[in-house]
C-alpha cells in the first residue's frame, strides 16, 4: 500500500484531481475576499468546460479552446456580478439559479451542436512540455509537463502574493471587510467587487477547461459537484489562496487514495464525504475558527 501511494502514478493522479479544485477554489477566494459569495462556481466550471470543448472542436486549437472556456466562465460570472452587485439581489439564490442555468444551457446547446443529450465529439488534448527524466512513464510525464499544471502552481503562489502583498489585494480585501470605510477613502467598492467576481470567472473557467482536456470531451453535468468542493476547500483554507490550495490537495489526495484502494479499505462513499465533513468541522470552530470576510454576501448600499 505504501509503495502504491509513493508511486509517481499516484502523485500524477492526485495532481490531476487537485488542479481543477484549486483553480476554482482560488477563484472563490477572490470573489469572497471582495465581498461576493460565489456558489455559482459549479455553473462557471461547467460552462467553462463546455465552451472549451466547443472552441477546441471547431478550431482544432486547444489554445483557442482555453480562451473560449475562460470567456464562457467570465460571462457566467458576469451574470452573477450584475445580479449581486448592481441589482443587489440575494447572492446565494443567484448562484443557485446560475448553476441551474448552466446545466440547462450547456445541455441545450450540446443537443443543437452535437446532436446528443449526453456527450460531445472528441477533442484534442493539450500539448505537453517534454519531461526527459520520466518519459518512461508517459502518463506522468504528460501530466507534469502539462502547461496548465505549471500555470496552476504559478496562479496559487501569485494569488497569495496578490491578495496579501499588493495594493490591488488590499483594496479587494477592504471592500470585502468594510466597504463603507473603503468607500470613504475613495476605493470604488463595486468596481473591486466586479474584479473579484470576474477573476473567479476566469479561474473557474480554466478549471472547466482542465476537465474538458482531461476527458477530451464534454459530458452533461461534468462539473459533478467540483464547484462545491472548491467552495469547501476555500472555507477549510480560510479564504487564503495557499490554504485553499492545500485543502484541495488534501481532498485530491483522499480521492486518489480511494481510487487506488478500490475494492479494499473504506467504501467509496465514505471517502467522498471527507471534504464535506471536514468543512462542517472547520466551520463549527473545532479546528481554529474560519471567519468569512465581514461583508461577504452583503450588497453595498452607498450612503446618500
Amino acid at each position: 500500500m505504501i509503495s502504491q501511494i509513493l508511486s509517481l502514478a499516484f502523485l500524477a493522479q492526485t495532481i490531476r484531481i487537485t488542479v481543477p479544485y484549486a483553480l476554482a477554489s482560488i477563484g472563490g477566494v477572490y470573489s469572497e475576499r471582495g465581498g461576493v459569495t460565489n456558489i455559482a462556481l459549479e455553473g462557471i466550471i461547467l460552462t467553462g468546460a463546455f465552451c472549451t470543448v466547443v472552441g477546441t472542436y471547431y478550431t482544432g486549437s486547444p489554445l483557442v479552446g482555453i480562451l473560449c472556456g475562460v470567456s464562457g466562465g467570465l460571462l457566467t460570472a458576469l451574470i452573477h456580478a450584475v445580479v449581486s452587485i448592481n441589482i443587489k439581489a440575494d447572492q446565494i439564490i443567484s448562484g443557485i439559479a446560475i448553476n441551474l442555468f448552466a446545466v440547462g444551457i450547456t445541455k441545450f446547446v450540446l443537443e443543437i451542436l452535437f446532436h446528443s443529450s449526453s456527450n460531445s465529439s472528441r477533442i484534442v488534448g493539450l500539448p505537453h512540455i517534454p519531461m526527459g527524466f520520466i518519459e518512461h512513464q508517459p502518463d506522468v510525464a504528460h501530466l507534469l509537463g502539462n502547461p496548465m499544471v505549471l500555470a496552476t502552481i504559478a496562479i496559487i503562489i501569485a494569488s497569495q502574493f496578490i491578495i496579501f502583498r499588493t495594493r490591488f489585494g488590499l483594496r479587494l480585501r477592504a471592500v470585502g471587510e468594510n466597504p463603507e470605510a473603503a468607500d470613504t477613502v475613495g476605493i470604488k467598492v463595486n468596481l473591486y467587487r466586479y474584479y473579484g467576481v470576474m477573476i473567479s470567472g476566469v479561474l473557474a473557467g480554466l478549471s472547466g477547461a482542465w476537465l474538458a482536456f482531461d476527458q477530451h470531451s464534454f459530458t452533461d453535468g461534468m462539473s459533478a459537484g467540483r464547484g462545491y468542493i472548491a467552495l469547501a476547500a476555500m472555507i477549510v483554507g480560510k479564504w487564503n489562496p495557499l490554504g485553499a490550495a492545500a485543502a484541495c490537495l488534501l481532498f485530491g489526495f483522499a480521492e486518489s487514495l480511494q481510487i487506488q484502494l478500490q475494492g479494499g479499505g473504506l467504501p467509496t462513499q465514505f471517502i467522498q464525504m471527507i471534504p464535506y465533513i471536514a468543512t462542517i468541522i472547520v466551520l463549527a470552530g473545532f479546528i481554529g475558527k474560519a471567519v468569512a470576510p465581514a461583508a461577504d454576501g452583503v450588497p453595498y448600499e452607498k450612503e446618500k
Binding site: A97, L100, I105, F108, A232, M273, I280, G285
Partner: protein, 361 residues
C-alpha cells in the same frame, strides 16, 4: 383621502405581480431560445400547455411532479420565515425517503392504518434529523447554515448511496426491497380511470395538509409568531425574551421534516422502494418554489404546480426543442424574481418619497 393608495403599495399586487411578471418574462426569453433552434415559440408553448393541462394523463403527471415540490418548497419557506436559508432540502428528502423505505421493508403484516402513519413518521424523523444538524450548529456555533446544508446534501447523498447500493439493496440493483403492501398510498387511477397510467397518488393530500399546517403554525400559533419575530429581527427577539437558538433549531428541524415527506410520493405512492438518484434536484427546485410563492404556503402550492408543469412539460416538448429549455426557464424565473423584488421595492420607496415631498409642498 388617506385611504387612497397607489396600486404598487398593495401587498396583493406585490405578491402576485412580481411572480407573474417573472414567469411571463422568462417565457419571453425562452421564446428566443426556441426561435434559435428554428421552432415556432407559439407552437412549442401550445404543445407545452395542451399536453400538460389538456388531458387527465398530463394533469396526473403534472401533479405527480408537483407533490415533492410542495414539500421541498414548504421546507425552504418555513426556514426563510425564521431568517434561515435551507439549501439542504435535497439531503433532508434523501434521508427522509430512505428512512421511509427502510422502516417499510421491515414492517410486514402491520395493518394499513398503523403502517401508513408509521412510514410517514419515519420520513418526518429522517428529514427532521438532517435538518436539526445545521440548525443546531447554527444556534450553538454560529456556523452558517447555507454552507452546512450544502455540505450535508453531499453527505446525505453519499450515505444513502452506500446503504441503497451495498447494504439494503436488492442484489444487482441500486434500490431497496419493496415496502410492506399495507404501507402503499393508492394512486388516483385506482378511483378515477382517467388518470390511468400516470403515477399521481394521494400523497398530494399529505402535501396540502402540510401546507395548511405550515400556514396555521406560522400565522396562528405563538411558536409560529416567535419564529417570525426571530426571522425579522433576531436581536429584538432575544431582547423580547424569545429563545432565538431554540427557534433556529426548531425551524430547521421542521423544514427538514417537511422535506423528509417527499418519500410519501415516491416510496409510498409510486415505486414502493427507495432508489439511488430518485430525486433530480427537487430540493434545489424547492428554493425556486418558495421564492416564487413568496414563502406563503398557498403561494408555494401554486408555484409548485407551475414548476411541476414545467418539469413534465420538458418531456412533452422534447421532440421539438431540447427538454433543457425548462431548466433554462426555471433559472430565469428565479433570477427575475430576486431581481424584480429588489427593483420594485426600490421603485416603491422612491415613489413614496417623491409623493411625501409633493404632499409637504
Amino acid at each position: 383621502m388617506a385611504e387612497k393608495r397607489h396600486w404598487l403599495e398593495h401587498s396583493i399586487t406585490q405578491n402576485f405581480f412580481v411572480p407573474v411578471l417573472a414567469v411571463v418574462l422568462s417565457f419571453a426569453v425562452g421564446a428566443i431560445f426556441i426561435a434559435i433552434v428554428g421552432q415556432n415559440p407559439i407552437e412549442v408553448y401550445y404543445v407545452l400547455f395542451s399536453q400538460t393541462l389538456g388531458n387527465e394523463y398530463g394533469i396526473g403527471q403534472l401533479l405527480f411532479k408537483t407533490t415533492p415540490l410542495i414539500f421541498a418548497g414548504l421546507s425552504v419557506a418555513i426556514c426563510f420565515k425564521a431568517g434561515l436559508f435551507n439549501i439542504g432540502a435535497e439531503g433532508q428528502l434523501q434521508i427522509g425517503a430512505f428512512a421511509t423505505a427502510l422502516v417499510g421493508m421491515y414492517t410486514f403484516g402491520v395493518p394499513a392504518f398503523i403502517e401508513i402513519p408509521l412510514l410517514v413518521l419515519a420520513g418526518i424523523v429522517g428529514g427532521g434529523i438532517w435538518g436539526f444538524i445545521p440548525g443546531y450548529l447554527k444556534a450553538k456555533t454560529g456556523a452558517h447554515e447555507v454552507i452546512n446544508t450544502i455540505m450535508l446534501n453531499f453527505v446525505a447523498l453519499a450515505l444513502v448511496s452506500y446503504f441503497a447500493t451495498n447494504i439494503y439493496n436488492v442484489p444487482a440493483t441500486v434500490h431497496t426491497p419493496s415496502i410492506a403492501p399495507t404501507g402503499r398510498i393508492p394512486r388516483f387511477d385506482v378511483f378515477f380511470s382517467g388518470f390511468e397510467g400516470s403515477p399521481v397518488n394521494f400523497s398530494i393530500l399529505i402535501a396540502i395538509v402540510a401546507a395548511i399546517f405550515v400556514w396555521y403554525y406560522i400565522d396562528r400559533t405563538r411558536p409560529g409568531y416567535e419564529l417570525r419575530v426571530v426571522g425579522l429581527n433576531a436581536k429584538a427577539a432575544e431582547f423580547g425574551g424569545i429563545n432565538v437558538a431554540r427557534n433556529l433549531i426548531l425551524s430547521m428541524t421542521i423544514g427538514g421534516a417537511l422535506a423528509g415527506l417527499v418519500g410519501t410520493n415516491y416510496v409510498m405512492g409510486y415505486k414502493y422502494y427507495f432508489e439511488e438518484g430518485f430525486s433530480t434536484g427537487t430540493g434545489f427546485m424547492g428554493i425556486a418554489v418558495a421564492l416564487l410563492g413568496n414563502n406563503n404556503p398557498f403561494g408555494v402550492i401554486l408555484a409548485a404546480l407551475l414548476f411541476g408543469m414545467l418539469e413534465y412539460g420538458g418531456l412533452v416538448i422534447n421532440t421539438m426543442v431540447p427538454k433543457e429549455l425548462v431548466s433554462i426557464l426555471q433559472a430565469i424565473v428565479i433570477i427575475f424574481v430576486i431581481s424584480s423584488n429588489k427593483i420594485f421595492r426600490k421603485t416603491l420607496v422612491n415613489y413614496m418619497k417623491t409623493r411625501t415631498l409633493s404632499v409637504n409642498q
